[in-house]
Subunit: 706 residues, 2 copies
């Protein structure tokens, strides 16, 4: 990792305090870890309170252990964001860690550094926070307890449990409940998806008062009443633990609810362990939630060494044609994954500069009810229609890579048994990316245990969480990056495992083919402030034939064609698909030019303006050039937005090419009305964006040669 | 038990087939068990299907084991009520019983009998059903499997699993999931309360499309689309098992979700065992759900021998005055449970013919935060203000009994440790009824295990379910009947344990004192078709001061004073409270007369008319006289109902005394407007009920002497 020092940022790092640094489990990147400034052993009589504030002083985390059970809380400019909230664990095999805990030590530190992403929405990430480690031990038995490591950033806080081993490194603990609560105003507004729905994270977001849901996935976006600040609750660095859903125990009282293992316990760990970070972002304006790097900063640095082989890019593929029922995954007359069809896509990709071609249905196992027959899939045996050796050679000749596809239907064991061979095959043939898939009911992933008993795992339970990491590590051996569909949610692990390029984990484009109803017009403006807070998404944008089932079918794109271009900028993914059929792009070369031009790796990204689920405006600077891009989308309502171009480099002129909605455009009546226009602009200009109902705008700003 | 043979009912009982009868686990009542009519061992090739129909043929249960997993379904007049739905179990320690099951035997029987309730909403209950026992065994291992015992009544079906012990009587099984599903139309309407809310069952019912909830308690009332039939899903005979919530896995797909034990498993059983009955009532009209006895019929007969000491009745008590903040449970200047105050209530009860006086706050442990300090309660130590010996003697002199109170705040172990002594004390002092209480978060009942570790139990988990039965058995030793508040839901166990007189288990009257908001105007018309399907409820009706916090406070009764009288007939409870303060009754002796007159034990009960959550009309015949009573309530909307009096005995005249809303009455503007009038009526008459907004009517029909 690279530490970049510049004039703005003072780095306080642990010069000469190596032992303290090494005690931090994240210290793999060496010199950027916090300096312990205070190590205190408060007398028992004043052991009740501990605090840490953000560098700007606006956020304050407080722990109060003065009563029977420790409670944490959070204020923002003095206003309560999180009211006193519980902490702790219950276990299957020993007493809970919940009450009778005292603060036995605190250790404070400050940290400011910058690190570089190998790829990302921005190249350099500043990590500026204050930290406190609060040691809580039972008064009755000081071998039992945990440390709470809390980091306060200007844009939010994170804390995690560091559970000590009580002097027994072999102690296995079965956690039956994590008691962490987040108590917010019962009058808050919430934008949420149900936390235990069968279809994993693939639901349209709802806006309601907070008390309308019983459980919600994270990131959960809230706004405190009376135009109060925006909050997003999530977690970071979900490793060897179960994913957290927020269960509403009573109005505004959200409690961690971990996905269970098949035996009903939640998490099993041996010896000392740390939990994922529990995070609360806070921002005055909704876009402030987006312009935050705390999730990445709370993840450990890259553990994979040289990852220059991980390549962002754009791809096309044999995928949408199945969703609109022109071809099939399984074999038969309409089998999509044929040699001929694959060559057609490879030719198209090469001609238009795409990096990869995804082919789904290339392997055996698709014939039958594949939703339930995950055991049938082979990950090394190509279907006879798909000459994998010849097609790979053809792709390599053309400078394009095939993108692998591993649909598991959630049969984890079948996949794990084959995956070493599967990645070796792809590695040998020059594949660089693999899309994995876990289409299954959220609670019905299949694992065959050592005794041969079939167990059912949750998509975001501890076993599945670790499965994804095993896949990343196996793929890395063959220099392959992963794009996981029906995955566990993102918690920023791309920092630690940079070959986890992107994933799904939300309602994607395919719902517009058959979603009944399709994604609502507000969907992308909703995703930007919710799902996208967690990390990149392979939404598969770029549908040009907006009514593939015909004009009378409910299932269609509820957006304009200009909005489809805007999605490439609004939705960050290092790997973006151009999802439509080649012929639909060839029919509209003028619009297609934007998809060909837009990069997927960025030097900087800024959410400029927006309102949750209503509209959002992003500006992003290309990593490989001085060019900027802007994307904006709106919901059902047309709107005019005035955007100052202050993000452009001062003193330079740019040619801005706008791909915008036509004057009479609207997603319902005139989705194909668009205009493309160019003008000269500079950082001193303002630009007015005229968005239609369901509309959008995409702009490319190319620096004029001097 | 008494079998009553009459001309209408043919009894098919197991003459000469004792061995078959004894194989039925419910056969404790001897001669009323079904005759096995067919014992078949179908050849494997046709082993896939089994059916049973209701006596009238309208309902048909079908099991289809022809594909990989057995599926059950239910039709009503040929229309699908329950689409093919899963069955089975997952276990912690062995493979699931879910797939690869074949029908290895079926046994059919018919049954028709009548049995007598010691007390109840009707004296004689007809049990008329057809039965099939379907043996399902694994093709790979015929030691493993279960029998499905299905009973089809005209008003609904019930089935339960009878899980064999696989040849090992000592085998302990930890169930991690019961897989039973109830797949209904995703367009059904639902009237529901949330299944996992902290406040147990104490929520206002909501009417929505079924897909609006993620989990719901049972009884869950549904209506199929297009004015289809009404359905109620529930369970019967919940013993040594965890209560079932219905989790909506996808729209219309409801799956059993059992409350977990502290270690995350759901149920632990040793050897062969049976589950509670899973019940589906079906009715063309909503009142048909009420006029059904299948829950009682699916419970085992009385196991307690002579229960003539279990007495229905009416009571007053020191209770409402705490809810309206005139006195306190804890000690201090306003302590309610003083000698003086208790004597005042005893005098009032004796004067007006009440059977009992409840005194809450009589014991030690109330001072402090009693919601969380259940360990502090003594159940034998009276507060110094309460001379239990002298007050009991005074009560006995007056012919009134004190009603005991055991608030546990959910600390099960503290209560179990003391309860033998506590019931012995009450028994010695002449108490006949005890109100138990479990005020605590639904998931936070406290149990201290054998190792001294504090565990948290769910209100409707296996341990708490069994706790209630231990309480009943201990109480029975001292001839005491139980009225459980914050209980597990009713599943008809009053048949087996007739000292379980009544319980709470829904939002009761106290919410009108402080509910913020109070119970909605529709609440009782909602309860009648939902909560009340499970059994009696101690709603504590009869509030005469409808605005105890003053006219400007939101917390008030959202109903008229006449409706308060109607509740005594609409809501069945063998033990009904007159909940208000004595002085409020003394101020309105004319209305109070109805409360004094109305019985709490019935010969017959009929739901005459109604619509879920809108209105309902009940007629009930006194068990001790030929008199009839009628009660009707409406929601927010006034309505006029014409009721034929055909329930009255033909050829006799009755003096009907109506307690009705005044002409300008409405709960909001004029709740105290009422009229009392008498008229002569007979079975040939029709009566028009004029119900105000939030209104009601109560009628007493007294037979004229001939």
């Amino acid at each position: 990792m690279i530490n970049r020092f510049n004039g703005l940022i003072a780095v306080l790092c642990c010069a000469g305090l190596v032992s303290a640094c090494l005690s931090d489990p994240d210290s793999a990147d060496g010199g950027v870890m916090p300096e312990p400034e205070v190590v205190s052993e408060p007398p028992a009589s004043v052991s009740g309170m501990a605090r840490v504030s953000s560098p700007d002083g606006a956020l304050e985390f407080m722990l109060d252990a003065s009563s029977s059970a420790p409670l944490w809380s959070l204020t923002y400019d003095g206003q309560t964001v999180i009211a006193p909230s519980a902490l702790g664990f219950r276990f299957a095999d020993e007493a809970a860690l919940e009450r009778g805990l005292s603060v036995t030590a605190t250790r404070e530190a400050s940290h400011d550094s910058e690190w570089e992403q190998p790829w990302g929405e921005r190249r350099f990430v500043r990590d500026h926070h204050n930290e406190i480690v609060i040691s809580l031990r039972e008064t009755s038995n000081d071998q039992r307890g945990f440390d709470l490591r809390v980091r306060a950033f200007d844009t939010g806080i994170g804390f995690r449990y560091e559970v000590t081993d009580g002097g027994n490194r072999d102690q296995t603990r079965r956690i039956t409940e994590e008691l962490t609560r987040f108590v917010v105003s019962p009058k808050a507004n919430a934008w949420w998806i149900p936390g235990t729905g069968w279809n994993r994270y693939e639901y349209p977001y709802q806006k309601t008062h907070i008390d309308a849901f019983s459980d919600a996935h994270t990131p959960l976006t809230l706004q405190l009443p009376d135009d109060g600040p925006y909050i997003a609750i999530h977690e970071a660095a979900l490793i060897d633990y179960s994913g957290m859903v927020l269960k509403q125990r009573r109005p505004g009282v959200l409690q961690a609810d971990l996905a269970p293992a098949p035996d009903g316990t939640k998490v099993t760990r041996t010896g000392a362990f740390t939990t994922p970070w529990r995070t609360v972002q806070v921002a005055r304006d909704a876009v402030g939630l987006i312009n935050s790097d705390i999730i990445l900063n709370l993840n450990a640095p890259n553990t994979m060494g040289d990852v220059s082989w991980v390549k962002p890019g754009k791809y096309v593929g044999i995928w949408w044609e199945m969703h609109i029922n022109r071809s099939t995954w399984g074999s038969g007359e309409r089998h999509g994954a044929t040699n001929e069809n694959t060559r057609r896509y490879l030719d198209f990709a090469a001609e238009h500069g795409f990096d990869g071609v995804l082919v789904e249905g290339w392997n055996t196992g698709w014939d039958g009810d594949w939703f339930f027959n995950g055991a049938e899939f082979s990950f090394t045996q190509a279907h006879p229609n798909f000459d994998i050796e010849a097609l790979s050679a053809y792709a390599n000749e053309k400078g394009v890579a095939l993108i692998g596809h591993h649909e598991t239907s959630g049969h984890l064991t079948n996949y794990e048994t084959q995956m070493a061979d599967a990645f070796a095959l792809y590695g040998r043939l020059g594949y660089r990316h693999v899309k994995t898939g876990y289409v299954a009911d959220v609670a019905d992933l299949v694992r065959v245990d050592a005794a041969g008993i079939e167990r059912r795992e949750w998509h975001y339970g501890q076993y599945a969480v670790n499965h994804h990491i095993r896949v990343l590590e196996e793929a890395a051996k063959h220099r392959i990056a992963i794009n996981a569909h029906e995955p566990v949610k993102d918690t920023g692990l791309r920092r630690t495992y940079p070959n986890w390029l992107t994933r799904e984990g939300a309602r994607g484009q395919e719902f517009n083919a058959w979603g009944n109803p399709p994604n609502p017009a507000e969907h992308v403006a909703m995703l930007a402030f919710t799902r996208m807070l967690s990390g990149p998404m392979d939404y598969t944008p770029g549908i040009f034939d907006l009514m593939p089932n015909g004009p009378d079918d409910e299932n269609r794109v509820r957006g304009t064609i200009a909005a489809q271009l805007a999605h490439y900028v609004v939705l960050y993914s290092p790997l973006h698909m151009a999802a439509d059929l080649p012929e639909n792009y060839e029919a509209r070369p003028d619009l297609f030019q934007f998809i060909k031009d837009v990069p997927t790796d960025w030097d900087r990204s800024i959410a400029l303006d927006g309102a949750v689920g209503e509209y959002v405006v992003f500006a992003r600077k290309d990593r490989a050039s001085p060019d900027w891009y802007l994307g904006a989308v709106t919901d059902d309502r047309p709107r005019d937005l005035v955007v100052p171009l202050t993000f452009l480099e001062e003193g330079r002129n740019y040619t801005a090419t706008l791909y915008r909605d036509g004057e009479n455009a609207s997603w319902r009546a005139a989705p194909y009305e668009y205009a493309i226009e160019s003008r000269r602009v500079s950082a001193d200009d303002r630009i007015t964006l005229n968005l239609a109902s369901g509309g959008g705008v995409a702009i490319r700003f190319v620096v004029e040669k001097e």
